[in-house]
């Protein structure tokens, strides 16, 4: 059943234990720790308890740093007690996707190739979180090398959707989204190449934000498709997404694609009056590909916004129908190049050679044994579209269509502040439902890949529910997409939407 949930999540309550945890957000918990209403150790212990209780059935984590997190928490508590200054998110337990390097523990990308890999350095985002005194409580399960939309690929048990264990949490950042939905951490980081933060956020009933390309350093993120990859927060509220994004964003000399822009002087909680918002609704998004429940949630949201005084602007995105084809040519081409680094020589899995086999066999066997089928499929497809004779026909053509897709968006943002649409054409699907046909899995990304191709920000916000199997409910998210560097405005619009129309709910088993 849909749990009845207060519009404003808790946070002022004095109660704090494993059972009350789902009512806390990153923002409220961070404030409570700084005010000494809750100690960092209490917070970490409570989350570790929940992980212990629920993760054996959910499989969100590839690794949990229990002892280390408790030690870090005690050190933070001592500093707070001594009146020393601590970071703004001191003591808040956050999970990070296992393709983000941490200089402790493992960084596996849920791949056999990196099963034993221990990164010698921190990703820039991890370093920035540690500087804010965040506690990184564990690493989360993902589709192998971030290639997938269901968290079923790669090493380990598939992650389950907390709302329905027979269903996927989405992907590829499914472990991060499921962990936030089940309150196994206050917030999490994921990476989004074609929707991998937003689609699992939609499936799990949480917020997922993909910032403008170049806002967040990719240094220490295992590369999948470098012109599309961007790290983003998965949280319970838009406010939390803004808070976490603010901590990790900004120029980094170790990633020359980060932009030195600084458009972040104002706090998120300045409201944009809803009567001043122009929300674009593309006719292409009322697609027959949508599940009827998704269309209904979408129509209801449009009506709510209109009734609240927002201007609804009908817009046209004619290039949308080419987005998936364009995306899968470009992302596989970049992946085939990026994943060439896994050669079995300097790190990663190395195959055992038989007598007479050469160094070429070492490369081919190590990669053959280390990569799963979806990763291999994409490397072969990427190598093919880049190969002599086909480069112009596929790769170069896709790059040209990409520009036309971007220009489509540019024209649109002259008429509206943000585009509203479904995040995914369906609610969470069943495990195994789409694994046999790769193209069917790719089509899940219909509404999300456009933002990556154009490099623009987009955010998925919980907006309603689908009723399945007689009375059982699954969350549905809607996505706001904005123009380049409009991240702060987009977050404010999403926050206003969350106040007027969005549903905050929790899987009933996890209340």
């Amino acid at each position: 059943m849909i749990p009845s949930v207060p519009r404003q999540l808790a946070g002022s309550s004095d109660e704090f234990d494993r059972e009350s945890l789902p009512g806390w957000t990153l923002t409220s918990l961070g404030a409570a720790i700084l005010d000494r209403r809750i100690s960092a150790e209490e917070a970490v212990s409570a989350y570790l308890d929940r992980i212990e209780k629920y993760d054996s059935s959910l499989h969100c984590f590839t690794e949990v740093f229990a002892d280390r997190s408790l030690e870090t928490a005690r050190a933070i508590d001592r500093r707070i007690a001594a009146g020393e200054s601590v970071g703004p998110l001191a003591g808040c337990p956050i999970a990070v996707k296992d393709n983000l390097c941490t200089d402790w523990g493992h960084t596996t990308c849920s791949s056999e190739m990196l099963r034993n890999y221990e990164s010698p350095f921190d990703a820039t985002v991890v370093r920035r979180l540690r500087q804010a005194d965040v506690i990184i409580i564990g690493k989360t399960r993902m589709d192998e090398f971030a290639m997938g939309s269901s968290c079923e690929r790669g090493v380990g048990e598939p992650t389950r959707n907390p709302w329905d264990h027979s269903r996927v949490p989405g992907g590829s950042s499914g472990g991060s989204a499921a962990a936030v939905a089940a309150s196994l951490c206050t917030a999490a980081l994921g990476s989004d190449t074609g929707g991998s933060v937003r689609q699992p956020a939609s499936f799990c009933g949480v917020v997922g934000f993909k910032p403008t390309y170049g806002s967040v350093s990719r240094y220490g993120l295992a590369a999948f498709a470098s012109s599309l990859d961007q790290i983003g927060p998965i949280t319970k509220t838009v406010e939390d997404a803004a808070t976490l994004h603010h901590r990790i964003r900004g120029y980094d000399p170790n990633d020359s694609t980060t932009n030195p822009e600084s458009n972040w002087f104002e706090p998120i909680d300045i409201n944009i009056p809803i009567t001043e918002m122009r929300v674009g609704v593309p006719r292409q998004f009322m697609s027959e590909a949508n599940d009827p429940s998704v269309t209904l949630v979408y129509e209801n949201a449009i009506e709510t916004l209109r009734a609240s005084g927002a201007s609804i602007v009908e817009i046209d995105l004619p290039m949308m129908e080419y987005a998936i084809a364009t995306y899968y040519v470009i992302c596989t081409a970049e992946a085939s190049s990026n994943l060439a680094r896994y050669d079995g020589i300097r790190y990663g899995r190395r195959a055992k050679l038989q007598p007479g086999e050469t160094f070429e066999d070492l490369y081919a066997k190590s990669r053959g044994e280390g990569f799963g089928s979806e990763v291999k499929r994409r490397i072969v497809l990427g190598a093919f579209v880049l190969s002599a004779g086909y480069h112009d026909q596929y790769y170069n053509r896709a790059l040209k269509v990409r520009r036309l897709i971007k220009e489509d968006f540019d024209r649109t943002f002259a008429k509206c502040d943000a585009i509203l649409g479904p995040t995914s054409p369906t609610a969470a699907f069943r495990l195994g439902e789409k694994t046999s046909d790769p193209l069917e899995m790719y089509l899940c990304d219909l509404y999300t890949v456009g933002a990556n191709l154009a490099g623009i920000p987009a955010i998925s916000v919980p907006a309603g529910f689908a009723e399945v199997d007689g009375g059982h409910h699954l969350p549905i998210g809607l996505q706001f997409t904005g123009s380049v560097l409009s991240d702060l405005k987009l977050l404010r619009i999403a926050r206003t939407f969350q106040q007027h129309a969005a549903i905050e709910g929790r899987p009933s088993d996890f209340l």
């Binding site: 129908e321 079995g344 020589i345 160094f359 070492l362 053509r397």
Partner: protein, 123 residues
């Protein structure tokens, strides 16, 4: 950009040839499946042939690319020990790999640190 659209060759042999170029060993099952699946995916990608891309500049990445010069300052780098800790096989500060040069004219002493017949080292 030519207007010619070659029908892609995605036979099992073609898939294995591409996989070889990518130094990627496929199982028989993968080679057979990929041949069918990639043909299906590329048939879908043919949608892009309907788009008029005349005079459109390719867009390899979002935003404009400009040079960013790093300041030339001394700094601390990772230690050799840390960097080599993940390597499957090392000797001193070298990665051990199978012998690369197969010429009979090259004797063991002239390959760097060539202590075994089957191994060479690469730094």
């Amino acid at each position: 950009m030519s207007d010619k659209h070659d029908q892609p060759d995605l036979s099992r042999e073609a898939v294995l040839r591409i996989a070889h170029l990518a130094r990627l060993r496929l199982t028989d099952e993968e080679a057979n499946n990929f041949s069918k699946e990639l043909a299906g995916i590329l048939a879908y990608v043919d949608l892009l042939n309907a788009v008029d891309v005349a005079n459109v500049e390719p867009m390899p990445r979002p935003g404009k690319l400009s040079n960013r010069l790093a300041e030339d300052l001394p700094g601390v780098t990772l230690s050799i020990e840390k960097l080599f800790a993940n390597s499957p096989e090392t000797r001193d500060s070298y990665f051990v790999v199978p012998k690369v040069i197969e010429s009979p004219d090259v004797d063991d002493d002239s390959t760097a640190h060539g202590e075994s017949e089957t191994e060479g080292v690469e730094r």
